[in-house]
Symmetry: C2
Subunit: 481 residues, 2 copies
């Protein structure tokens, strides 16, 4: 038994070999698996259930915000990419093309790397009047980007799942306002549901989405000292409207081009969740997004088995009825210790232990996955205690990650300090001139990229940390995924 | 106004030009649109909302049946198709291949036309012991089949959305039993939710899924005299398990190949819904799958506008709180008549009309979309009355479709009768020898195909309607989509 158990467990430490530790958690908690196709992944039921919880949460947000789901084609004609020049240039290297069949006289088709072009062709047919605006559509779909760098499950794969929202408006003001609204919804998703703190801001010109006027972003910082882009929202201005002819008659009868934004997050969020919260025993899922929140492990002896199982099921039913996702691990072919290890590895936030003595004392033991704190609670107050403890876990996971983020930020003034801080795996904050040349130079020397220009900076000027010229704003830099 | 209204409406009659009538409903009720890529479609928010309702219903069924959702890669290596010979032969003509990049040394990749092969490669890694069985996984995804025939929105497109369930078992008995269980769940979805009656049975050898031992099907019959396959479930036997090496150790320690089934339905169901229920005014949605069940149209006059709108919203809120999907059409730039026409076209099952006089009498008018029956009901009992009426609509839509199906079945004994019945757009039921040759001959002469061999036929023998040889069972034949 011991031998099997060690095989099941995580054999690398987070602090020693972060990358391998991460891979083991994803594989052994059965969140995802490598696919037989290079660069692709299989999202296993445990991982997909987390994605579904994210979808369920976000579909409610979409509904409240007047966004409707739809589905557009996987294949995009070559000419569509060429219409918006920057967009075309940005995505060209990542496109996968379909072999043309001899009977087809059609143009070359690529698998969508993002859907601006194919969606906006339809928008140009659907939008006629200011009364058709705002038009707000989202799609949940798969995306293919032929990246050549090494595969990293959830973080860097050729195919991934995402949502992409695409809205059209009659004024730029409304367009930018809602681009920021959706960014704020992303922040809430990350912080309130996934318990991952983020920094909100704008991307520099160099890091902007191909074809956008402005790109807004939320950035998280991982325990191995790399930043991770969690979601972006783009003010597309009228760039695509002009390329695709999205025009409307305004209330005075004048023809105008629509203003557009687009915004997306992907299954990469699951990778961020794993990296942020998990430990050397395995995955830790924040309760609000966990596919199961509580596992009941009955301690079974021959003479009391029946009673203990019966009580376990009763408690489980009560918890489920009260909106908690709970199950009983009834297996008899593995030991109690094996069960503890397995559910710790798989990240179930809370465990309830119940044995024959607990029936007499009318108490059960709650064990937190994140801290391993144990607490005996009265069976009659088990619902209340579980809810309280799950809330506490959710809060404390966020607080811990927030402390890490805050302690990782280093404000620097000189280039030497900058390089040292990047070397020390910090999230560097510095005055920056925002020129592309300077940013490329920084990347060349340190491999760090700009992550975001936070909003609401007080209007003080400074000196660019790299080139010494005037800098209006401070910018975050870090190595990244 | 009148001119606009007629443009909005359906200009072809169901009885005169069924095909064009169908296209108009799909386009004008904004369920779907043609895509700029040949053979593809855009599923618009109204259509996608119906699909989401189907998904929500069926996800509950999946959960109850122990099936978990997952996601497998879009791209499938060429060698995978070749492993199961019949499967390869069946899908070869429909595959879309990815152009190979010069830097890739990998094998050729196709877009999934179905996912047996890519999923079972993973199954062969995951399944080790009888304790890993049954393994039940479903995925909701997009599928590409490079059909060359003419595009028909929802019914015949190169890309479509579907669910595909793939289970593995330790015994064939369990495998077949559950293949039939999922078929029964499909019947319930079609009959209880979509209000479309179906016939359950088995496919003949000729119509069997490529690589399956048996294919089970549910078949519906459309108003234009064509059968439509609504969902299938396949007993794959050990065919794929042998090709992909899905082996397990049974409880005695012997190695065995797993038994497998797979089953799917697609967005084609939305096409069936449109054809079955709609009329010359437009779409009719069964209440259980409608994206909105009730529209409230307030009759607005300047002096009473405020009061009428207020009451309308109050009623709407009450209905929504009671689990009915209701909205108020508050627009002031279109007439009441325009609103009636628009929501009739878009298929909202029930309309509530409320004007200033109704406030005095404390009554509102309910109008059924399917029959246009009007009824005045007390405002205080509006929830009860709406629920009752929606239930009635759901029931009567099914009953009407069932009467049509029953009246379309013609049992024949001779080849002349057979040909006449097919000519008269009937669903023909006849003794059939089940040989591929005979079936091909029937198709050549009539364009009809076998639809299904219904279950539970009494063990009488007969004479094949075509070749006169011994026939053990009766089989349904029809033209089809």
């Amino acid at each position: 038994m011991e031998e099997k158990r060690s095989l099941l467990g995580i054999t690398e430490k987070k602090e020693d070999n972060f990358s391998e530790w991460y891979n083991q958690i994803v594989l052994k908690a059965e969140l995802a698996d490598y696919a037989p196709v290079r660069g692709c992944m299989v999202i296993r039921p445990n991982g997909y259930a987390i994605w579904q919880n994210i979808q369920n949460y976000f579909n409610k947000v979409l509904e409240e915000r007047g966004v409707k789901n739809a589905y557009f084609p996987l294949l995009i004609p070559e000419s569509f990419f060429k219409r918006e020049a920057q967009h075309a240039a940005g995505f060209a290297p990542e496109l996968a093309w379909i072999e043309r069949k001899s009977e087809d006289s059609e143009e070359r088709l690529a698998i969508r790397p993002t859907s601006e072009t194919i969606m906006y062709d339809s928008y140009s047919k659907w939008i006629r009047s200011h009364r058709d605006l705002p038009l707000r559509i989202n799609q949940w779909c798969n995306i293919l980007r032929w990246e050549v760098s090494q595969t990293k499950l959830f973080l860097r794969t050729r195919e991934f799942l995402w949502q992409e929202g695409h809205c059209a408006y009659s004024t730029e003001e409304e367009c930018v306002k809602e681009a920021l609204t959706f960014l704020e919804e992303y922040r809430k998703l990350c912080e309130d549901i996934l318990a991952i703190p983020v920094i909100k801001g704008e991307k520099t010109a160099k890091e902007r989405f191909s074809g956008a006027k402005q790109t807004f972003t939320i950035e998280a910082f991982m325990p191995d000292g790399k930043a991770l882009q969690m979601g972006t929202s783009h003010n597309l201005g009228q760039n695509f409207a002009k390329s695709f002819g999205i025009e409307f008659l305004d209330d005075k009868g004048n023809r105008q081009f629509a203003w557009q934004n687009s915004w997306g997050f992907s299954t990469r969020l699951i990778g961020a969740l794993v990296m942020t919260h998990s430990d050397n025993k395995g995955l830790i899922m924040p309760p609000k997004v966990a596919y199961a929140q509580i596992v009941i492990v009955p301690i079974l002896f021959e003479d009391s088995k029946h009673k203990v199982l019966k009580e376990s099921k009763k408690i489980c039913e009560k918890l489920n009825k009260n909106g908690l996702i709970c199950f009983v691990d009834e297996r008899e072919n593995v030991s109690v210790g094996w069960k503890f290890n397995e559910w710790e590895l798989k990240g179930i936030p809370l465990r309830i232990e119940i044995g024959p003595k607990d029936l007499t004392s009318k108490k059960v033991i709650l064990v937190r996955r994140d801290t391993f704190d144990k607490k005996a609670v009265e069976i009659r107050s088990v619902v209340k205690e579980c809810k309280k403890t799950l809330d506490k876990i959710q809060e404390e996971l966020f607080a811990r990650a927030k402390r890490f983020l805050d302690s990782s930020i280093v404000e620097v003034r000189t280039w030497v300090e900058f390089k040292n801080a990047i070397e020390n795996k910090k999230l560097v904050f510095a005055y920056f001139c925002e020129s592309k040349e300077c940013e490329e130079e920084i990347k060349r020397e340190t491999t760090a990229t700009s992550r975001c220009i936070p909003f609401d900076q007080k209007n003080k000027e400074g000196v660019c940390v790299k080139c010494g010229s005037v800098a209006k704003r401070k910018v975050y830099f870090a190595k990244s995924y």
